[in-house]
């Protein structure tokens, strides 16, 4: 941990966003993660995304479970609400919070251990329900907090720090989400903010669950030769074919669309995501094509990154459950609790 707090230097040229805040206003407390941890870069990307979207800091809810990844929520947006749940229980807490107040931006941060092992059941159901949230998996292939045992996302053949290779088949959160009918599936790399920030911005504007699998190297236990989740390995095998560029609402779009197969996808709130895909035939709105593409890339030993699939037509948790347009927290008590007479009337109707 650094010896000092990141000092607030009053630079004259510090840029502000539409609501007059600087990037520093979206920071949290000092990270106690290892120096060089990919998770800190994810934190920085979230800070930048929130700043650029001019989101009021108090309108954010940060949720996490247990693990190195789940410490991340402490390191951004100090003014946000937060809940650090039991191991693997980030998703149900997010679902409940979402039900109570549909008006906030939910950012869940989990890891490959938290989401693909102990919390896997919860994650799949949150995806099925299309809970309106950003679901970030900081994926490093190991349990860093307990000194580097393989996690459920470790690739077959990937070597542990002590040299032994993994032999158990990995769970790929991207394929899992695609097969569950997820409405927004992306993969990125903590060492590539140019790609990660726009994906985060798009995810924050997506109506429904936006799953981002971020390969975030464990600098301490999984950054050696032989690892398939090291900075070097990811850089050498990253297939950065899908370059998203998030264009927020309200700004006129004056981009020249390249003729190599760009697809503009309108987000629910009117924001647009522009996909520039090198293989002209890649269509990020075609679920089967996306699954095929990711599978093929895996077979070639490549790590496809970018916004791999998005479908804004999938109904989200509120639509599915016909919830009140007004967030429950804002409903007056009398409406939320009509009283025992009404209850009795309801009970009588079942008789």
């Amino acid at each position: 941990m650094p010896s000092i707090k990141k000092p607030l230097i009053p630079l004259a040229a510090m840029p502000t966003n539409e609501i007059g805040l600087t990037m520093r206003d979206y920071e949290g407390s000092m990270s106690t993660l290892c120096a060089g941890c990919g998770h800190d870069s994810v934190t920085a990307a979230i800070v930048r995304a929130l700043f650029e979207l001019s989101i009021p800091p108090h309108k954010v809810v940060k949720l996490s479970g247990i693990g190195c990844s789940s410490k991340t929520t402490a390191y951004f947006d100090s003014a946000a609400h937060g809940f650090n749940s039991a191991h693997g229980r980030m998703a149900p807490i997010a679902t409940g919070a979402n039900a109570a107040n549909r008006d906030a931006l939910y950012i869940g941060i989990s890891g490959d251990g938290d989401s693909l092992s102990i919390g896997a059941g919860h994650m799949v159901h949150a995806i099925r329900r299309n809970v309106h949230m950003v679901y970030v998996i900081e994926n490093n292939g190991v349990y860093g907090l307990t000194k580097g045992q393989f996690s459920a996302s470790a690739d077959i053949g990937s070597a542990a720090k002590h040299g032994k290779a993994n032999t158990v088949a990995p769970i790929d959160p991207v394929m899992l989400a695609l097969s569950l009918g997820a409405s927004f599936v992306a993969r990125s790399f903590s060492g590539d903010k140019e790609q990660l920030v726009p994906i985060l911005k798009a995810a924050a504007q997506h109506r429904g669950l936006a799953l981002i699998d971020v390969i975030s190297p464990c600098v301490q236990f999984n950054n050696h030769n032989g690892s398939t989740k090291s900075y070097r390995y990811v850089r050498e095998h990253e297939l950065r074919e899908i370059e998203p560029d998030f264009i927020s609402t309200g700004r006129e779009i004056v981009v020249d669309l390249p003729r190599d197969g760009s697809v503009m996808v309108a987000m629910h709130d009117g924001g647009l995501v522009r996909f520039r895909t090198l293989p002209a035939e890649y269509d990020p709105t075609d679920r089967e094509a996306a699954m095929h593409y990711v599978n093929q890339a895996h077979a070639r030993g490549e790590i496809p990154t970018g916004l791999l699939f998005v479908d804004e037509s999938v109904p989200d948790v509120h639509e599915l459950n016909h919830t009140s347009e007004t967030p429950l927290v804002e409903l007056p008590f009398e409406e939320l609790c009509p009283g025992s007479t009404e209850l009795e009337a309801l009970q009588q109707s079942f008789v």
Partner: protein, 591 residues
């Protein structure tokens, strides 16, 4: 991009902006850290190594370092470098046994210096330890030159002056007081191996307008008047005084006049305030002493009645934006009892024969080499105000060091152009995983204000020093404002794994991993924060191992907090202290 060559002593020297701006290149951050540790004597010696007169300069320096200070760019006010220098001087222990000494056995070379101002004294300071016999000729009865005669003792107490001059003279310098040099030819005939002219610019400018000589007793030339006050020849002045001029001498004149009975003292300026030559703090000090500053008034004539000065007539001017053109809008007469002229000073070399081979330029200054300070007469050197016209003490000291190198070369038969090279060291400051041998935290304290003696008291005692110096608490706060610009984040490209940790933690966004490019201009535009201050360099790495991109640091923004090095998992960044070893007389030319 070509990777930055940090082995070039100039590269990091420029980053230590105060040191770079100081003509004598005083190692400011180092002495400020020593003060912070309570090592006042060590801080004094670091100062003395470069600027020779820490006590004097801690009170009187023109402070070219302060406008350059990085802290100014951060929170608008520079570290009070000058006044911290005074702290080191005031609180030091006896350092006499740490001073350079002259060897008992001399090298047989004799050097003559003209004038005991800072330039000559600096020459003696550098040459005496090498075995030279230095003789200084001084027209006055006491040493110090303009430091003694034109800086009032309420700013620079005589005791401080004497002590620091004594350190040099005490090495065995022969000073011939009351001995004005009246002929350079004669001095040359005395067989000195080298002659250094540090005679200053001692002649105050006159103002030849109507009525100037009607009442000469009440019209004074600033420099001469201050000198007379310093030597006790003048002890009073009329109650209404007009000071003509806007330089530091004018401020000294008006403040002195306030102490000698001047109740109504006005500074008369031709141009608007932002064009004044005086340092802003000297202007403030004058205003604090209730001196009125009147702008846009050009002297027209002295008004006398029956041979007695009664006032002065001025044209009231209206200037254009840049104060280059004016027009007269009115004429006024301001009554006064005395007028002090402080409109500049000039060089005067009536004692140098023009047929010796020393050339003079059209402005009356000797023609000299800007680096070696040698005149066209080999073996004769000029420094201080005598060299390039009036500057200040710190420039005179810098000239003294350079002239000493030239004199040493000249006496050893080495070409004067062969200068000893500046050298440097870089020393790791790492003491632990996230521990440094310097205090890397940013302290948001504002600049500390100097306490002054109250007005009534200072007007009663002419020689009472006005500035009280910093208190212990103020010193403690002020030293922490220094950003330690000499402790450099040094980058080793082969170790970097491009994890972005340094970029994410940097509080001023001065770091970027950018694609390599040939154009510095395009690199500047693609940084995390565009590098628009073209005076500040970019620190550019070799291509990085994984992606071939380059690490770029904008020197303009970095506050040297060391967080990049603390968050670096591979120690590709490390904090290393840059120490400049200036070339000095006696070091020989290291090429």
């Amino acid at each position: 991009m070509q990777a930055t060559d940090i082995g070039d002593p100039d590269y990091f020297h420029r980053v230590v902006e105060c040191q770079w701006a100081c003509p004598a290149h005083t190692n400011v951050p180092e002495y400020i850290r020593l003060i912070a540790q309570g090592r006042y004597s060590d801080a004094y010696m670091v100062n003395r190594d470069s600027n020779v007169f820490p006590g004097i300069l801690g009170r009187t320096c023109d402070r070219p370092c302060e406008p350059a200070c990085r802290r100014e760019r951060v929170d608008g006010s520079p570290v009070a470098i000058c006044r911290l220098k005074r702290v080191a001087s005031d609180l030091r222990d006896d350092i006499t046994d740490r001073l350079p000494r002259a060897p008992a056995e001399k090298n047989g070379k004799r050097v003559a210096c003209v004038g005991t101002g800072p330039a000559s004294l600096a020459v003696a300071n550098d040459l005496m330890p090498l075995g030279y016999q230095v003789t200084i000729f001084e027209a006055a009865a006491e040493p110090g030159g303009l430091m003694r005669t034109s800086i009032p003792s309420f700013r620079l107490p005589a005791q401080v002056l004497e002590e620091e001059i004594g350190y040099i003279v005490g090495m065995g310098v022969e000073v011939r007081y009351d001995t004005p040099v009246t002929s350079l030819a004669a001095l040359c005939r005395d067989g000195y191996d080298a002659i250094f002219i540090g005679s200053g610019a001692p002649k105050g400018k006159d103002l030849e307008i109507e009525g100037r000589h009607a009442d000469p007793e009440h019209v004074h030339i600033g420099l001469d008047w201050l000198k007379s006050v310093a030597f006790g020849h003048i002890g009073s002045i009329g109650s209404r005084v007009l000071v003509i001029g806007v330089g530091n001498t004018a401020m000294d004149c008006c403040r002195t006049a306030r102490r000698l009975g001047g109740g109504d003292v006005k500074i008369m300026a031709r141009r608007p305030r932002r064009f004044f030559k005086a340092s802003p703090w000297e202007l403030e000090d004058a205003e604090e002493e209730q001196v009125e500053i009147i702008v846009n008034h050009a002297p027209r004539r002295f008004v006398t009645e029956e041979g007695r000065l009664v006032g002065m007539e001025f044209d009231v001017l209206e200037w254009d934006e840049e104060a280059t053109r004016s027009r007269t809008v009115d004429t006024v007469i301001l009554p006064c009892d005395d007028v002090i002229l402080a409109i500049g000073q000039e060089n005067a070399f009536p004692w140098i024969e023009r047929d010796l081979g020393m050339e003079f330029s059209s402005d009356g200054l000797p023609v000299i080499d800007a680096v070696t300070l040698q005149t066209r007469l080999p073996g004769v050197f000029v420094g201080g105000d005598a060299a390039f016209g009036p500057k200040n003490i710190i420039w005179a000291v810098a000239h003294g060091h350079e002239a000493a190198i030239s004199i040493d070369n000249h006496c050893r038969g080495v070409p004067v152009e062969e200068r000893p090279a500046n050298r440097m060291t870089l020393t790791s400051q790492k003491m632990g995983l996230t521990e440094w041998s310097y205090n890397n935290d940013y302290n948001p304290s504002p600049r500390q204000q100097m306490a002054h003696v109250d007005l009534a008291k200072r007007f009663n005692e002419l020689r009472l020093e006005v500035e009280l110096g910093f208190s212990a608490e103020q010193t403690m706060r002020e030293v922490q404002r220094c950003l330690n610009c000499d402790v450099q984040p040094v980058f080793q490209a082969p170790l970097c794994i491009e994890c972005d940790a340094c970029i994410d933690i940097c509080p001023v966004a001065c770091l970027t991993i950018a694609p390599d490019t040939d154009s510095e201009a395009s690199l500047r535009s693609m940084l995390t924060v565009a590098a628009e201050n073209l005076d500040e360099a970019l620190y550019v790495s070799e291509p990085l191992a994984q992606t071939g991109r380059i690490m770029v640091k904008d020197e303009n923004l970095c506050v040297h907090c060391g967080l990049c090095a603390e968050r670096c998992p591979t120690a590709a960044w490390n904090m290393e202290k840059f120490d400049l070893r200036l070339g000095r007389a006696g070091m020989g030319a290291l090429l």
